[in-house]
């Protein structure tokens, strides 16, 4: 089964000192490497905070960082797991969670 991990609220990353950041980087590398080593990794990237919010075809466009700053999706991963339980386990030690981030795990539709 395919899953998507949406990572929100990584704003604490901005408050880390370089040496703290280095520790996070190492954890993150290890986590991302494991995802790959286990053959789970499909795709992923970080999102910048530039964006617009459209609420209707002709309605207002909200420019720039979205209103609720801490809810911004900062990055995503897609990966495989046998079950939702396993997917949650994979995400549990995503380093973002230790730095004020939240992780939303969603199953991707397979048209099965």
């Amino acid at each position: 089964m395919k899953f998507m991990l949406l990572i929100r609220g990584e704003d604490k990353f901005r408050q880390l000192s370089p040496t703290e950041a280095e520790a996070v980087l190492e954890k993150y590398f290890a986590w991302a490497r494991r995802l790959r080593d286990e053959g789970r990794y499909l795709d992923g990237d970080a999102l910048t905070d530039k964006g617009v919010l459209l609420k209707s075809a002709e309605g207002m466009v909200t420019d720039g960082p979205l209103p609720e700053n801490k809810d911004i999706v900062g990055g995503y991963f897609t990966f495989t797991a046998e079950s939702m339980e396993e997917a949650v386990e994979v995400c549990r030690d995503c380093p973002s969670l230790s730095y004020g981030g939240s992780a939303e795990v969603r199953q991707i539709s397979l048209y099965e």
Partner: protein, 387 residues
């Protein structure tokens, strides 16, 4: 994974402070923080970039420019090269790979793309952006290059180690082309794509660290690059427009690059071969070292151009020669020189002609119009039309 973020962030901050002043130090720090946060989120996925310092500097610089909302794009200036990670020597195999990319069966424009992709590790999109090409065009050039190699059976006949030194000409040529393309390409209205010039410089550095690649000609080429970098900060005005040699503020020339250029100059004078790059570097040295436009030793420049034209009588060099002649012997003489040949597709030919005509009190409007219509560089076009 060995990344010293403390050192990287310190260097980036120091560099930005030097570049932009320490007046708004908070902004500098915030930008560096942003860049580090971006690194945390992207490096684990995409890997640590080849040049982490340059990567951080570029991201931080862009954030800074965003913050000050000028809408401009931060261009990695060549003095940032001092921040770049120490070049590593090419192995013999890497040298062979480079020579493969500049195989004579491949056309020059394809060699450039193929080398940047295969040796410098750039993506099609980066190459396309650097040279203002469609991504598909770059992809096509690379496919074509590989097809040529297949047709030549070149993949299986990498040059033998004993041939390396003598086949280095092709490598020099392609590095020179990458550098010149970068120097004359406009990006976001800026007159020079310093990234590409730096890429050429760093490939040359790696090349020269290999005993087969270290030669008087390599040093001459390196001197040429360094002198060009030295003059770069003065070449572009605050608003991104171009300044001629005559109008440049020479106190802005970068002394670090100048010194580096001189060191290479002193090493290129050995051996019997005086290459095209020796002449070009000597000309560039004269311009870089002259205190002002009028103090320039034009008699030496004319002489170097005469050497150059014996080796490579290209229209571009002939235009340079004509300008030097104009400075040494008067604009009428220079104009005669220009009119002794035709270069109907060369913008600088008509720009030089307009310059001479103006000095002689002649009507320069036609030459100016032609020069502006032929340039592919937006900054240059504005420059030509405003003068």
């Amino acid at each position: 994974m060995n990344v010293d973020l403390a050192q990287l962030s310190r260097r980036t901050t120091a560099h930005l402070a030097r570049k932009f002043g320490a007046k708004n130090f908070d902004d500098l720090e915030d930008s560096v923080q942003d860049a580090i946060a971006a690194a945390l989120r992207t490096w684990p996925i995409h890997g640590v970039p080849d040049k982490p310092a340059a990567w951080l500097l570029k991201v931080a610089g862009n954030r800074l420019v965003d913050r000050w909302s000028s809408g401009a794009r931060y261009v990695l200036m060549p003095d940032a090269a001092l921040l770049l990670d120490e070049p590593e020597s090419f192995t013999d195999d890497e040298l062979k790979l480079l020579l493969l990319c500049c195989h004579p069966a491949i056309s020059e424009e394809d060699q450039i793309a193929f080398t940047l992709k295969t040796v410098a590790g750039l993506g099609n999109r980066q190459i396309a952006r650097a040279f203002l090409l469609e991504e598909a065009t770059v992809a096509q050039r690379i496919v074509r290059a590989k097809a040529r190699l297949r047709a030549e059976g070149a993949i299986v006949t990498l040059p033998h180690t004993s041939e390396l030194a003598e086949r280095m000409d092709a490598a020099h040529r392609v590095l020179y082309l990458i550098f010149s393309e970068g120097y004359s390409t406009t990006e976001g209205g800026m007159a020079t794509n310093a990234d590409m010039c730096l890429t050429a410089m760093s490939l040359l550095d790696s090349l020269m660290l290999n005993p087969f690649g270290e030669s008087p000609t390599s040093h001459a080429l390196a001197a040429l690059f360094c002198f060009s970098f030295a003059r770069l900060p003065a070449r572009i005005a605050e608003d991104g427009s171009l300044l001629t040699l005559e109008d440049q503020d020479r106190t802005q020339y970068d002394s670090g690059w100048r010194e580096r250029g001189l060191r290479h100059m002193s090493k290129c004078a050995t051996g019997r071969v005086a290459s095209v790059y020796h002449a070009l570097a000597a000309i560039s040295a004269e311009h870089t070292l002259a205190k002002s436009f009028s103090d320039t030793r034009w008699e030496r420049i004319v002489e170097f151009y005469e050497h150059l034209l014996l080796k490579e009588p290209s229209p571009v060099h002939r235009v340079g020669y004509a300008i030097a002649v104009a400075m040494l012997k008067g604009h009428a003489q220079g104009l005669r020189e220009l009119r002794s040949f035709a270069a109907p597709r060369l913008s600088s030919y008509f720009a030089a002609m307009a310059w001479m005509e103006e000095h002689l009190g002649l009507d320069a409007s036609e030459s100016k119009k032609l020069a502006a219509s032929l340039t592919k560089n937006e900054a240059e076009r504005k420059f030509l039309l405003s003068a």
